[in-house]
Amino acid sequence: MRLTKLSERRLRPACVSKKMKLSFIRPISCCSVSSPATSVKPQKPIFLRPPTFKTTISDLQKWHHWAKSLISSVGSTFLELDNGPDSELLLRELNWLVEDAIETPKSFLQQPHKNYNDNSSVAVRASLEQLYMLWKRRVEERMPFQYVVGCEHWRDLVLSVQEGVLIPRPETELIVDLVDDAIKENGELREGLWADLGTGSGALAIGIARILGTSGRVVATDLSPVATAVASYNVQRYDLEEKVHVKQGSWFEPLRDNEGEFVGLVSNPPYIPSKDIGGLQAEVGRHEPRLALDGGASGMNDLIHLCDGAVSMLRPGGFFAFETNGDEQSKFLVHYIETKKQGNFSKVKMVSDFAGIKRFITGFRGR
C-alpha cells in the first residue's frame, strides 16, 4: 500500500538534502520539518513558556487595573461597529490571559486584593512590558485574542496559532463530530487514509487523527509555509507525528501519489466572497491571513475545486465534509454536485451549525 510507503518516507533520516528530496521524493516531501520553508519558526503559546519573568503582585495589579480600564472604555463600540467584542467578552479574555501568563493565576484572580502595596513576587510567562504591549494591541489594534496568547482552545485541544495562520473557528469543531458519526457507521473509514485540505493550524487533522483507529492516517496540506510550520508544531505537541503528515502545497497537489485512496476528505477552505473582505470584523479583516479567507468573487472558487477533485481522490464509499459560508453556498454546492457530478456521490446533504446556519455539506463517493 502507498500508505506504508508514506511512513517509510517519513522515517527517512532528516539529513537527506533538500535538493535530493525535491528530485527524489517530489510530491510527498514529508512533514514540515523538511518542508521548503523551514525558516518559519512556530511561536510558543504563552501558556507553554517557562515562568522566567518575576514581577510583584502590586505591579501586576497595576497592569490588570490598566487593562480593565482600557476595556471599560470600549463598552459596546466594537460590537456596534463591526460585531466585535464588547467589554464583557474582553474582560473574560483578560482573565484568560492572566490564566495563561501567570504561574499561579488562581491566587491572583480569586483573592480580592485590597492591598495594593503587596510586593511579594509572582512568576510570569511574559514580561510586564510584553503584557502591556499585548493588551494594548488587543484593544487598540483589535489583534485577535488568540494571537495575543498564541493559542486557541478548540474542542478539547489547545492549538498553537500565530499571525499568518487562520484561527480555527468553533463552528469547524462540528466537522470532527460529523467524521465521528461517519466512522461509527462504517469501520473501514476508521482505519483508512484521510486528508485535511488547507489545514491551517492543523485543527481538523489533529481532531480527526485522535478519533481514528490504529492504522488510520491523516495527510494535512496547506499552501502557506507558516501554516504548515504551525500545524507540524501542533501535531508534534499531541504526539501524532506517526498519524498526521503535514505537507505544503496547493489543495490536492501534494496528494497526487495517493489519488483514489482516500477514505475521507475534510476542508475549511477560504469561502468569503472577495467583495466582503473589506467589511469584515477588524480582528479578522486586519489580522488573519487573506489566503485563508478570500474565496474569490463568489467565495466558492476553492469549494468548487474541492468538489471536483473529490471525485478522483476518494475511494468508493469515501466520505467528505466541507465548511461553507452558509445557506446560500451550501445550497449551491449540493445542487452543483447533484447536477454536474451526477452519479459520483450519494447521500449529499447540508448540515447546520449551532447557530442554525447550513454550514457544511457532506456526502459519500458512490460505490
Binding site: H153, E171, E283, F354
Partner: protein, 479 residues
C-alpha cells in the same frame, strides 16, 4: 465483619491456649488508637473474664471497629436478624440509654472524669442515632437484608447492585455506632474492674480511651448530619436575581461571591459554569459547580430566598432598598447512581449570542451554547469554557443534573424542598435576611440563628448557619 465468622473465631479462640490468645489480642489492639488498653492488660482482662459470651462481645467490638470485610454485608444479615436485639451492656447491666438516664454531669473534656466522658459519649451516640433516623434505618436494613437473601436477587444485576450497595452503606453506619457503644461499655467495665483490683494505671488508660472516643464521636455527630442519599455528592449552586433590576442583580453577585468563597474555604473546587451579567452591574443569573465530598449535603441548606436590606449604592437619593435572590442547589450524582437517559435526538443545541454570518467572517472567543431538552423544556447553558466543545460538555453536565433532579423529585415527593429548581422556588420562601442598614445582622429565619457581622458571612463564613440549619431540621423531625 461478620458475627458468624466472629462466632466461629471465638469458639476457636476459646480452645486456643492463653498465650496465643494474647498474641491475637495484641495484634488487634495495637492497630487501634482509641482502644488504648494496654495489650498486656487487656489479655489479662479477657482471660480473667471468663464468661465466654462476654469474651465474644469483647472481640466483636474490636472487629467491628476495624477491618470491614466486603463480604460482611451478607453475614451482617444474620447478625441483624439474630442479634440486633442484644444491646451492649456492662457487666452489671448498664446500657447506653441507662447511662443517659443517670444524668451524669458532663464536664469539659480536659477533666479526667470517666462519668463525664461516658455521659458525653452516650449523648453523642443518642444524637447520632437520632440523626441517622435509627429506627427507620434498622427497618430499612431489615428490608434490604430480606431482599439480599432472596435466591433470585442477581437475576437483575443492576437492581441487586443497588440493593447491596445501599445495604453495605447502611451496615457501615450501624456497625460504626454499635462499635462505639460496645467500646463504651467495655471501658466502663474495665474501669470498675481496675478499681476493684486497685489498679490506677489500668483505670487511667481506660479513662484516656474514653476521652479519645468522646472526641471521635463528636466528629461523627457532624458526619451524621450528612447522611442523606446524595449528601456526599458535588453540586451546582444556582443564583437568580429577584425583581428590582440592578439592585438585586448586584445582590445576586454578592451572594454568588459568598458561595465561591465559602466553597474555597472548605477546600472545594469551584468553577463558574454559566453567568448572565446584568446590564449595569451584578448578575441576572449564574451557576457554579462546587466539587468535593459532601458539597451537596452542606449547600442544600442554602436553598431558598435570601433577602438583603441596605442603602443602595445605585440610588443617588441614598434610600434603603430591599432585594431578593433565589438560590437552588442541584446534586451531581456519582457514577454509581442511575442517571436519566438522555436521547440525543431530544436535544436542541444552539449557539448563543451568535453574531451575524459566523464561520470565517467572525472571530470571537465567545462560544457559549444552550442545550434544550425538548420533551421537558429544560435548558442548560455554559459560556465560560474556552471552546464550544467544552462549553457543550459543561452544559450537558448541567442538563444531566437538572434532569436527574427532576426525576428525583418525581420519584420522591419527600425531601422536595432540596430538589426544587430555581423556577420552582417561591419568592415567599425566604430563608435568611441580611441587614446592612440601619443595623447590621444576618438572621436565618428557619433556625433563628443570627450573627451581627454581615461582612464575615458575605465573605463565605457560612458554616455555622449551615450546621445550625442541618441540626435543627434533622433533629426536630424525628422522635
Amino acid at each position: 465483619m461478620s458475627f458468624l465468622i466472629l462466632g466461629r473465631r471465638s469458639t476457636q479462640l476459646s480452645r486456643i491456649p492463653t498465650r496465643e490468645l494474647f498474641l491475637f489480642s495484641c495484634s488487634f489492639s495495637s492497630q487501634s488508637p482509641n482502644n488504648s488498653i494496654s495489650n498486656y492488660r487487656s489479655t489479662i482482662f479477657y482471660s480473667w473474664y471468663n464468661s465466654s459470651n462476654r469474651r465474644n462481645k469483647g472481640f466483636s467490638s474490636i472487629f467491628n471497629g476495624r477491618a470491614k470485610n466486603p463480604s460482611g454485608s451478607i453475614w451482617g444479615v444474620r447478625f441483624l436478624s439474630s442479634e440486633a436485639a442484644v444491646e451492649p451492656t456492662t457487666a452489671d447491666g448498664l446500657t447506653v440509654e441507662g447511662i443517659i438516664a443517670k444524668n451524669w454531669n458532663i464536664l469539659d473534656d480536659s477533666e479526667d472524669d470517666w462519668k463525664s466522658h461516658a455521659s458525653s459519649i452516650a449523648q453523642s451516640v443518642h444524637l447520632i442515632k437520632k440523626r441517622l433516623k435509627w429506627k427507620r434505618l434498622m427497618y430499612r436494613l431489615e428490608v434490604l437484608s430480606a431482599q439480599l437473601n432472596k435466591a433470585d436477587l442477581w437475576d437483575d444485576p443492576v437492581h441487586a447492585g443497588k440493593i447491596s450497595r445501599e445495604h453495605g452503606s447502611l451496615m457501615n453506619k450501624v456497625e460504626d455506632v454499635m462499635a462505639i457503644e460496645q467500646e463504651l461499655v467495655e471501658h466502663i467495665d474495665m474501669i470498675k474492674l481496675a478499681r476493684e483490683e486497685n489498679d490506677p494505671e489500668l483505670e487511667s488508660e481506660s479513662v484516656k480511651a474514653l476521652l479519645g472516643i468522646r472526641r471521635n464521636v463528636k466528629e461523627k455527630e457532624l458526619e451524621a448530619l450528612l447522611s442523606g442519599e446524595h449528601d456526599n455528592c458535588s453540586c451546582f449552586i444556582e443564583v437568580q436575581a429577584g425583581a428590582g433590576g440592578t439592585e438585586s442583580m448586584d445582590w445576586a453577585s454578592m451572594v454568588m461571591q459568598m458561595y465561591k468563597m465559602w466553597a474555597q474555604r472548605k477546600g472545594y473546587g469551584v468553577s463558574v459554569v454559566d453567568e448572565m451579567p446584568g446590564e449595569i452591574a451584578g448578575i441576572k443569573r449564574a451557576t457554579i459547580k462546587v466539587d468535593g465530598e459532601n458539597a451537596f449535603g452542606y449547600a442544600k441548606s442554602e436553598v431558598g430566598v435570601h433577602r438583603l436590606v441596605r442603602i443602595s449604592p445605585f440610588d443617588s437619593a441614598k434610600r434603603r432598598h430591599t432585594s431578593f435572590v433565589a438560590v437552588a442547589v442541584i446534586p451531581i450524582l456519582g457514577d454509581g447512581s442511575t442517571h436519566v437517559q438522555i436521547n440525543e435526538s431530544d436535544l436542541r443545541i444552539e449557539r448563543y449570542r451568535s453574531g451575524g454570518a459566523g464561520g470565517q467572517s467572525v472571530n470571537t472567543t465567545e462560544s457559549a451554547v444552550r442545550i434544550t431538552h425538548i420533551p421537558t423544556g429544560i435548558t442548560a447553558s455554559c459560556q465560560n469554557e474556552r471552546s464550544q466543545h467544552s462549553n457543550k460538555a459543561s452544559a450537558m453536565a448541567v442538563l444531566q443534573s437538572r434532569l436527574d433532579q427532576l426525576e428525583m423529585a418525581r420519584q420522591a415527593q419527600m425531601n422536595a424542598q432540596h430538589t426544587q429548581s430555581l423556577t420552582e422556588i417561591s419568592w415567599g420562601n425566604q430563608i435568611r435576611t441580611y441587614v446592612l442598614h440601619p443595623y447590621r445582622m444576618v438572621k436565618d429565619l428557619r433556625t433563628n440563628y443570627e450573627v451581627s457581622d454581615p461582612d464575615s458571612v458575605l465573605e463565605g463564613d457560612l458554616d455555622d448557619f449551615i450546621l445550625s440549619y442541618l441540626s435543627t431540621s434533622i433533629d426536630k423531625d424525628e422522635e
